[in-house]
Amino acid sequence: MLTNFKNSRPQQFTFLFFVFLLLYFFVPENENSLLWRLPPLLKDIPLLINSLLDNLMFKWLTVPVYDPDWQMYEDKPVFRLITRAIADFLLFLIIFIREIFLGGLQTIGSITGGAFKEFKWLYLPAVPWTAVVVGLFILGYRLQGLGLAFIASIGFFYVSIFGQWEPTMETLSLVLVTAPICFVLGLSFGILGYLSKKVEKILQPILNIAQTMPHFSYLVPILVLFGIGDHAGAVATIIFATPPMIRLTILGLKKISPEVVESGLMSGCNRFQLLFRVLIPTARRDILIGVNQVIMQCLAMTTIAAFIGAKGLGFNLKVALNGLKIGKAAEIGICVVIIAVVLDKLSLAWANKQKDYFANLNFYKKNIASIYFILLTTVLGVLAYISAFYFENGFNYLYLIPFGEGLTIAPILDAGVDWIWETFFYYLNIFNKFLITNVLFVMRDAYLGMPVISTFVLVMGAGYIIGGIRSCIIVGALILFIALSEYWNRALITAYMATFAVGVSAILGIVTGSICARNEISAKFILGVCDFFQTFPSFIYLIPVILLFGITDTSVMIAAIAYASVPATRYTVEGLRSVPSSLHDAASMSGVSNFQRWKSIELPLAFPHIMLGINQTLIFALMMIVLGALIGTEDLGQIIMGCLSRPNGAGIGLTLGIFVSFICLAADNLIRTWADERKKMLGID
């Protein structure tokens, strides 16, 4: 009996759950009882962070700096000078790129040091939008073919004629500045991590936390260190988008077959040659996939960076959402989606493009694309110049269509929204009320009524059953950190929302995935859909749900479910499709029905992979729930949002971000340990 219990996980979990329930019902609600809630011993951590930042920015290590306006020396803290220098440098780059697309005075002005307002000739003319569209066409054609050429050029053509050119270029300029910096940083740290085990060991936990922290919690400390504006947005973006690049670089380099490394060594490569002539070129594709990730993350973050003053589509979106102008918001949302798709497709095409051999081509043939581009840009530039006389009294439509002066479909969208509201309001409202009162609130109260001791027993017990004493302690420590803060109740609310969202997403994802994995065509189709939905920034998901459900918890939950179903579906399809065909044949020869095949062959084999998908689902759901604070929830996210407008918010924002990250990491530890062990047992990879 006892040995049986030792070997049976279901029995162990049943027992654990039973203990959990026992504690749940028998520990009384009492604020002074340690079993009910732990004392907030760590409540000073945010203050500590605040005073640290404050000290760094205003007091620590001052040096005298000459102030030309006052004609005297003044003591300034080094750290602040450094952050200011970084900020100025980034700002210069952003404005420079921006003025290439939009025209402006500042770049040339700041280089020449001229009093730029007086000299009109200092004006850097913009590249006409027509030239950008043509350039994208040529780029798309070179990277993949006519299909991509049309997608890229038509996408930007749409953006231009719908009057979103200016904010789009503002966003794009941020991406164009931050993405290369992320690339260089990520590649360098990735290489260091590959070369030295020690560096990798230090990087790993940092990357884990960085990739599970919600976007918002980055924003507050950066606000303190760098102030408000495009440069702060750029810094936030760089910090957010570099980790995946580091990770993919390490992964790509590690994937190289040891024989290739040995062949390099036997050719007599020194370290430098080995790195730059063997390792990096061999890992080219993985590194470029990293670039693709970087670009997409940059785009996602630049939209959210609107909250710390970054200009562009995100800023306009924020304004539109604040004013509940759904039509306008949707229009901007469409532009964000278009740009995301275009950038994604272009960078993926670059990664997948294999080098061709051009042994015997002359200069003209080698550079034909650039020559065409320069030629066409000149022609279009001249055209734009001439058309300036034609459109003398209005806007020069061939040069730059100003914000809000293009076509618009906002009235149609608004009418559509109105129609939906008028027609379906009653049903939506019933559903909304039902969900909130009968499901969400019930769940929330259940979570809030959970004594802290029972939470720990459940979580640490699961850790012990799955991964032994090590997992038990790791998971316990992560949760303890939150339990000792002031925000345990908020964290419980976040946890309840996450549980609900993950539960629904998992069911949706596994069902959809299982149905679509039945044959190759539908599997490919659904993976394409997943790709598409993963392309655009999480922010965008909020637009349609607000449209349908207004500003309620339901909206957030539905956005989170929609967003988090994507990885669940993807991993289900991948897992099911990767079941070896010999097993399928063996099953068919045993005469299984379709359902039997799914239940007793495909699902058990694919389940570890599906669980990794659920892990992703949790991260996605938490990101969206925190983001949901934008439309009003009362969990951790709400406070993080609130920190943006509080003078001393940095510490709290950062701490709460780490809490969310810890929730992810605890779940990640459990799921990953289980999945790895299970995979080993099944003999998959």
């Binding site: 024989e259 290739v260 036997m266 050719s267 007599g268 020194n270 040659q273 061999t282 051999y357």
Partner: protein, 346 residues
């Protein structure tokens, strides 16, 4: 260089003295305590894996030494110790009389750039370079100019029979063609020592045979000092001057193919030799008797010929034959009954 030429007759090009390679955290400490008596089992209990266990041998100039063993026998590890891709845990390795383990990193790089070439099981071609760029790679690493290295690489392309495909990428070639590129690359710097790590194991049986023939042809032209690793006993018999058979890191027997087939040293080696058709391996030399002018006829056979190739004519002649060496000097006589015994006897 001239020194090594002078010594070439007596000093082996590669020389190993009690080489050990043991994987694991405290390998060297355990080895010190064991006084050279390494037992795989006790080491495994201590968390170490024995790769190479007390290997001592020499390879002469122009000799082809084949290291044969099943997977996990330590054959590739031994090769990697000698090419210094891994560091031996203990022992001494000399290349042309120079102590490999005492070399600085710079000396090692120089050695690899000028004296060593290596072919890998999975070809290990650089995916971003064309055939000719791959072959020219070691030259360019060495600092040879583009024009010279390309000319040399083109020569190599012709040598391995890939002319017309020099601008292909590895992904566009078959396995056999890729390995030809690997071979050409390893020969581009004209090394004296040639390492081959299971070069034909990833190929189909027919292609493998073709590549072995090609390899023998190349060796006939180039006459390099070779260490060839394989798990295929037939391949070893076909190619080797001498074979080292390894098991659990220990060299069980190191001898010529003839001697291994005729006198297997251990039970383990015997298992390999049992099913080998001897007439395909043994040379006339191994079954000849002392010369006796009274009974020998005038028909002469070479002592280096493989029995199978001459079996039919020997049996048809029904006489006792005269065995001669390369210079047509008489070295022995051959009774056809011996041939019958080799083919049908046990």
């Amino acid at each position: 260089m001239s020194e090594s030429l002078n010594n070439s007759n007596n000093t082996p090009v590669i020389k190993c003295e009690s080489v050990y390679k043991i994987f694991g955290n405290n390998a060297s400490k355990l080895l010190e305590n064991s006084n050279g008596q390494v037992d795989a089992k006790t080491f495994q209990e201590a968390g170490c894996i024995v790769g190479v266990n007390n290997a001592s041998f020499g390879v002469k100039k122009g000799e082809m030494m084949v290291v044969m063993g099943l997977s996990g026998s330590g054959k590739s590890t031994l090769l990697r110790c000698i090419s210094k891709l891994t560091d031996a845990t203990a022992g001494k390795i000399f290349i042309d009389g120079e102590d490999l383990l005492a070399m600085s990193n710079k000396q090692l790089i120089e050695l690899r750039r000028n004296k060593m070439g290596m072919v890998f099981q999975s070809f290990a071609l650089l995916p971003h370079k064309t055939v000719i760029e791959n072959i020219a790679f070691p030259l360019q690493i060495k600092g040879t100019g583009t024009r010279d290295s390309m000319a040399k690489a083109l020569e190599m392309v012709e040598l391995v029979g890939l002319k017309g495909r020099e601008n292909y990428f590895p992904r566009e070639l078959s396995g056999g063609q890729q390995q030809r590129v690997g071979i050409a690359r390893s020969l581009a710097v004209e090394p004296d020592i040639w390492f081959l790590d299971e070069p034909f194991s990833a190929l189909d049986p027919l292609i493998r045979k073709e590549m072995q023939d090609e390899f023998l042809r190349l060796q006939g032209v180039l006459n390099k000092t070779i260490m060839f690793v394989t798990h295929d006993f037939d391949e070893a018999l076909r190619l080797a001057d001498r074979i080292a058979i390894m098991k659990d890191g220990i060299i069980e027997q190191l001898d010529t193919p003839d001697n291994i087939v005729l006198n297997p040293a251990t039970e383990y080696v015997k298992k390999f030799t049992e099913d080998v058709p001897r007439e395909k391996v043994l040379k006339i030399e191994s079954i000849m008797d002392a010369y006796d002018s009274n009974i020998s006829s005038d028909i002469k056979v070479s002592k280096d010929a493989i029995i199978e190739t001459l079996a039919e004519s020997i049996l048809n002649s029904k006489e006792i034959l005269t065995v001669v060496n390369k210079n047509n000097e008489i070295v022995g006589s051959l009774n056809p009954s011996k041939v019958i015994k080799v083919i049908f006897g046990k």
